[in-house]
Amino acid sequence: MVLNLVKFSHIADCHIGGWRDPKLKQINTDAFFKAIDISLNEKVDFILIAGDLFNTALPGIDRLKDVVRKFKELKDKNVPVYLIPGSHDYSPSGKTMLDVLEEAGLCINVVKGDVVNKKLRLRFTIDKKTGAKITGLLGRRGMLEKSYYEELDREHLEKESGFKIFMFHTALTELKPKKLEKMESAPISLLPKGFDYYAGGHVHIVEKKDLPGYKNVVYPGPLFPNTFYELEELEGGGFYIYDDGNINRINLQVKNVFTINVNANHKIPESVTSEIIEQIQNKEFNDTIVLIRVRGTLESGKMSEIDFKKIYDLLNEKSAYFIMRNTAQLSTKEFEEIKVETSSIEEIEDKLIEEHLGQIESGWDKEKEKIMIKSLMTILSSDKKEGEKVYEYEARIKDEIERLLNI
């Protein structure tokens, strides 16, 4: 097939259903809608979603309905969606809503292949309109997908001619930013070389880079930030549109973000309260997410004496859409013996796991043991899904554990 111009959107990490709070949860969905609408206006040939469309393998019905509606709209307009499962919406038991969407003809999971001579040989999905050849690998928790890459028949993929896209949901060692240096990653050399576009996901960073043998390695970042830190850092989300070799970033600002940063060193709670109020007093916060970060060590008093209620009331009066506060790096001299852990939950878990490695007689090396423990924790912390019966839930968890442990 002779290839003409190719124009596509590259989206990743939508995490639909991600935030716990309904107001923020809605923004995830709104950002997704907005990205699809922009893509349609831009008349893209197809859309790529590089993992974590949903925040879980079995999302709630409401969120599912939203996505189905939008996918249906794309299908009606003949804009195919090619996707890969990510670490959040992949399920070891195979029970993922992505399968349902694919069965309904609303999207195509491009992670298809065969095992030939003990190697994983991926197949290309060919976009009918443009002839673009798309393939890729899913993302799994604890970087379990790394073993897929190690057994990947790269040569087979590399010798295929035409316009090729490789989708991946994996942190690449070479592109990891300093702030994510502890994140597990894989070297780019595990990916097949010579593709025209590498559509990445998983790492919530915005990066577009050429590396020797690998051009257009792109991480679009999330459609909407997923943590307090990401909101501070990114403020909004976005995605990329590839148009015949030109790659342009489309920023999505669904809500405004306003950050208040207060250093509490040598201050008392009342002063911190006044300082925050001073910063918000003469401003309006329509449709704005307000982030309040207080760090440092209070000279005296308790952290709970900072009058957040008063601050929240004032911000709500000023029509703030949502208010979040972070005091993880705040302490007080009165309780100096308490060390405040500034790390994320994942980092704390990692640290604890590492401290206790080697205590079980598993026969695994430390790396493998760490991965298995993390995978078990993920499976065991999975909630019962909406509409899922208790016995179904138990069977699912049991099945996932059995698969993981290869029982």
Binding site: D114, E151, P177, E181, S189, L211
Partner: protein, 504 residues
């Protein structure tokens, strides 16, 4: 069976008459048995002996040569013989082994050493395999291990003429260390020979080595280092800056912090320095870091990058801290770029371990060793005259922080004596040049003053280990890497769980 009889000499210079029909080799280990102990002796020289005077010998030889006569010696076995000069290595009692302080009995016979004599050679904790015990050219079935943790933190010198097996030894040691996690080793590999890109190498070890290369094969990591990680002090020992340039570097770093290289290249304001000085800095940085600058943009052509490689130095340091072996292929770089990369990592690791010591956390960390080929490039007298660098700092202070050097060189005489003396384990392979042998002998942990000839005569793969952590200078035969790993290479088990991939 007796190989000879002790006939004369003094402590350290014992003379043995060799039994006719027996062969005694240079470097051979012999046992002299006393009533309550055995003394392990080593041959360090061989000479001829004869009952005939030298004038008679000259006459007899002349008759044989000039008159073609059929002269034979009467009682030849008795009249002509070999003499071996031996030195005491260690005294072995049934319960222990200790340094020799007495002579073996006069006129006692010496025999070849047997495995049973050497039961005092045991496997230390954190053992590092280096080869088998050697007696002359004979290899004994006695494995030699060094206490890995100690020898790595107290620096190792591997010295030999080209082609005598330095890299082979390093490969064997690295293979062995991969089985353990008591030491993290950083290998700067200027010949790209350890990983085994196209041959048998460390990549075949069941526990994978971590490999960085500018052109990585599948599974290896691309070597990219972010410019923000480089500080002016990383150039110590890499680039000889003038005083004015050093001051300018300090000033620009102070002003622009981790953007300082970009600031120099993009001609940003740096008050108080001559344009010429800044222009030289810019030119040298562009060249060294393989960068281009035009249209107000910096283009990165090589390893150093404005965007990528933000976590590389930390990733490598983390892996070393986990006791892994990290090999960096520096074969495509100029020497000073290789040293700059080494300097960046060494500085990070050194600073981390210093902090761990302050916090009392060092005990639980593995020892880290930096394996440097052609070590005089960073530890040579000439280099160090221009000022210290991180490697010389590690050579001096590293052992306090569990960081050591494994320095490989064919020219140890270029390394200052003080640093050589700090290298508490020396693995000496065949070294033909006398000044090089002398430098090693003078800084050895044991008295090798009589071993110069034995060192020169060491064949490929033969070595002598002198170390603060061995009781005597141990002669060894290092296995050929390919032979050594032949049975240990395991085909990686295919991980055939491809859950999530749609088949058919």
């Amino acid at each position: 069976m007796s190989k000879g009889i002790i006939i004369s000499g003094s402590f350290g210079e014992i003379q043995v008459r060799q039994k006719h029909g027996q062969e005694i080799e240079l470097g051979e280990l012999l046992i002299a048995e006393n009533k309550t102990s055995k003394i392990l002796l080593q041959v360090y020289d061989l000479i001829y002996g004869s009952q005939l005077s030298s004038s008679n010998l000259e006459l007899v030889s002349g008759m044989k040569l000039e008159e073609n006569s059929d002269l034979v010696f009467m009682d030849e076995k008795l009249r002509n013989y070999n003499l071996a000069l031996l030195k005491n290595l260690i005294t072995i009692t049934p319960k222990t082994a200790h340094s020799s302080k007495s002579l073996p009995d006069f006129f006692s016979s010496v025999r070849e050493v047997k495995k049973d004599d050497l039961t005092f050679i045991t496997k230390p904790s954190n053992p590092l395999y280096v080869g088998k015990l050697r007696s002359g050219s004979k290899v004994l079935d006695v494995d030699i291990f060094l206490p890995g943790k100690k020898v790595f933190s107290h620096h190792i010198l591997i010295a030999a003429t080209t082609g005598r097996g330095k890299s082979n030894l390093a490969s064997v040691m690295l293979w062995d260390i991969l089985d353990n996690d008591y030491a993290g080793i950083l290998v700067l590999d200027p010949h790209d020979e350890y990983y085994g890109r196209n041959k048998l190498g460390l990549k075949y070890h069941p526990k994978s080595v971590i490999y960085y290369s500018p052109e990585p094969p599948a599974g290896a990591r691309s070597l990219k280092i972010n410019l923000a990680h480089i500080k002016p002090n990383h150039f110590n020992g890499v680039v000889p800056w003038s005083d004015a340039q050093k001051e300018a570097l300090t000033a620009v770093y102070k002003r622009y912090k981790n953007r300082w290289i970009e600031a120099v290249i993009m001609d940003e304001e740096i008050p108080g320095f001559m344009e010429g000085t800044l222009a030289v800095l810019k030119r040298r940085l562009l060249s060294l870091l393989d960068l281009d600058y035009y249209d107000n943009k910096i283009f990165c052509k090589g390893v150093f990058d404005t965007q990528a490689g933000q976590s590389t130095i930390n990733d490598i340091s983390d892996d070393l801290e986990k006791g892994k072996v990290v090999v960096i292929d520096t074969s495509s770089f100029a020497g000073n770029v290789e040293i700059l990369i080494g300097s960046l990592i060494a500085t990070e690791v050194f600073n981390r371990y210093k902090k761990y010591k302050n916090k009392g956390l060092l005990k639980e960390k593995p020892v880290i060793s930096l394996l440097l080929e052609e070590a005089p490039r960073v530890l040579g007298k000439e280099v160090l005259e221009k000022g210290p660098n991180i490697f010389s700092t590690i050579a001096r202070e590293g052992r306090k922080f569990k960081i050591g050097l494994t320095a490989i060189t064919q020219l140890p005489s270029l390394i200052p004596r003080q640093i050589l003396a700090n290298m508490n384990t020396k693995i000496i392979l065949g070294t033909e040049m006398q000044p090089e042998r002398q430098a090693i002998i003078e800084s050895a942990s044991q008295d090798l003053s009589s071993d110069s000839r034995a060192i020169a005569a060491l064949d490929k793969g033969e070595a002598i280990i002198t170390s603060n952590f061995t009781r005597f200078a141990i002669p060894i035969k290092i296995p050929l890497f390919e032979e050594y790993v032949k049975d240990k290479v395991k085909e990686k088990q295919n991980f055939l769980d491809f859950s999530g991939v749609k088949f058919g």
